[in-house]
Symmetry: C2
Subunit: 412 residues, 2 copies
Amino acid sequence: MRVIVQKFGGTSVDGAERIKNVARRVVDAKRAGYSVCVVVSAPGDMTDKLVDMAYEITDSPPPREMDMLLSTGERISIALLSMAVQKLGEQATSFTGSQAGIITDSSHTKARIVEIKADRVLDALKRGCIAIVAGFQGVSTEKDVTTLGRGGSDTTAVALAARLGAEFCEIYTDVEGVFTTDPRIVPEARKLPYVSYEEMLEMAATGARVLNARSVEFARVYRVPVHVRSSFVPDEGTWVKEVSEMEQPVITAVTYDKSEAKVTIRKVPDRPGIAAKVFGTIAEENINIDMIIQNISEDGSTDISFTVSKDEVARAREVTEQIARELGAKGVEVDPGIAKVSLIGAGMRTHPGVAAKMFDALARKGINIEMITTSPIKISCVIREEKTEEAVRAVHDAFELDKDQAYEEKEI
Amino acid sequence: MRVIVQKFGGTSVDGAERIKNVARRVVDAKRAGYSVCVVVSAPGDMTDKLVDMAYEITDSPPPREMDMLLSTGERISIALLSMAVQKLGEQATSFTGSQAGIITDSSHTKARIVEIKADRVLDALKRGCIAIVAGFQGVSTEKDVTTLGRGGSDTTAVALAARLGAEFCEIYTDVEGVFTTDPRIVPEARKLPYVSYEEMLEMAATGARVLNARSVEFARVYRVPVHVRSSFVPDEGTWVKEVSEMEQPVITAVTYDKSEAKVTIRKVPDRPGIAAKVFGTIAEENINIDMIIQNISEDGSTDISFTVSKDEVARAREVTEQIARELGAKGVEVDPGIAKVSLIGAGMRTHPGVAAKMFDALARKGINIEMITTSPIKISCVIREEKTEEAVRAVHDAFELDKDQAYEEKEI
């Protein structure tokens, strides 16, 4: 049995005509000799509408009930797609997350898959039936409906592909693949034929919206080749896969993220254990922080800055002001007007000049860098939000990302 | 633990404001000392919209997928209502049909409840939590999602009331109770303070839409008192309950049904076994027929007429034409222009003059009776559809149903 998993996003199943198109793709794959498992998202903006409905009822919807609510959209998609596939003459069976055996922990609205009991899906595939699974949802070990967070359908698809031993997992979406940067900002941005799991992870973590980070993690751990491609055009998209060192370009992509804000605690007394106190307390509140900077101490006090999702900045401010008072700091400033621009490339490990070249490209445009973080394959700079587009263009140009980089080791 | 079950229909949960109103009713009952189990339908016309979506995909939606699709509406209602109840400070937990342990057979789109495994609901009630259950749906013994057919939420509510040993079951709806006839036709129609299970069953079967027949059957078998009342006004509605003979009025109500068509097979050779052949074949096709009439034989042949739901009349015609050819009958006629007017009353058993009085009332208005069927507590007459309103008024007047009939034995 040669299994593949195909995942279709919300825009692909928005309306009868699009659902029929998806059905044709699925049936084509089946008739090409594959056993096909399909994962679908909720149609169009249904999930957003459901969220709005909840907030009309209460300003703090209980997470368990939120999951009960949000899991309905995908069920509509799977039922309708199953009907459309059967109409084309193939057998199909829809499965809710629970029926597909997607077992998660109990962290409602952001549950993690702990196990997949795929018996029913496997039975269906063995019978020659196309299995159509609701993405984004599962059932907790307490038998409650859970959801995996935004973009969770990607995770469902990749996790199922791993569990079913699929040859590959196709992610159909409204873009044509993974690009060297956002083509709306840089029209010469190039579609990447492939990208390594590690790079894709960094890209997802720094603002590329094409795949969610957790799905890439799954793909990496289980070595599932993922093909990101368009629902609307037949061309090959981008393969996320294991990439040999020889195939590895130095630099792969430039990403950006405007979703964070910067919080600064002014003039914290510079004593040992201060950072632990600050970030320990924030972590206890379950607030995720991204970058951290502590200035050089002056007169026995220092400034500590960190970035946090704008969604959580109100809570972060509250907690931080409390800590600032306790520590006798001067005060807390919140700056929502920032953006993070990142450069990703596995080849960076062996090319020490990359960071300097990036900083230089920004400096030439007069763009000030407020914070910097690095990983072995990524450099991120925080800049003013209104400079984002200019910065992305400058960095993309400096590394000539519009030109094919694979198989040639460029001097930097 | 004093348990009650409250059921709210689709119009009661259509929009945030109405859901908040329902939440207040539920919380009031809880604070009055009851353990409250709530059953809700899909909001507004959502189920109709989902049906339309299915028919945009295919003209014959597979029943299993139809159930997957149609079961989503109630899930939205239970999640939102649970949020609204929690917002008012009471604990609440939503349960899908499956989570509430509503086990059904596998007859998709019209499944029957075979068992209720109410452990999770009972646990919730024991913890002081309000249990909010999706109506209309269950899970089959094959672990597929099933639905109970239109009006199925009533059945869920009454069945749960029986299983939980509830003191009574409240059905909140958009009318104020059960009336002696449709007040849109007869403005003097009287709201009945109570009605017996048997009479309510006959009323449901002959066109009264306030409760579905299967839910009344459940109530009767398990002796669950059912209180039918308005979601929008606080007045007492109608109790469907065991009624002692002393409390029993002779005549309770006049109902009508325009949803059937009449099929006639002309000049069937009149041999033994003909009726068995005709209705056996129709039954095999799973077509439900209501009334049957076979004319007196003439020249060795006879006419056979029956009524069938307009939804099924196309299939019934097909089957019947086939049989007519096999039997050498002259042909098949289909007449959609009929209506059935029925008179219901448990006291009828001991008052033989009732039928004659009904026929006389129709005759005085020049309304021709085309078919008649009777049960011990019901007389139904098929007439021309356009005479329905006039017939209902005539019969309602003749039996003075606008006047209170209980506790007094009227001469007829």
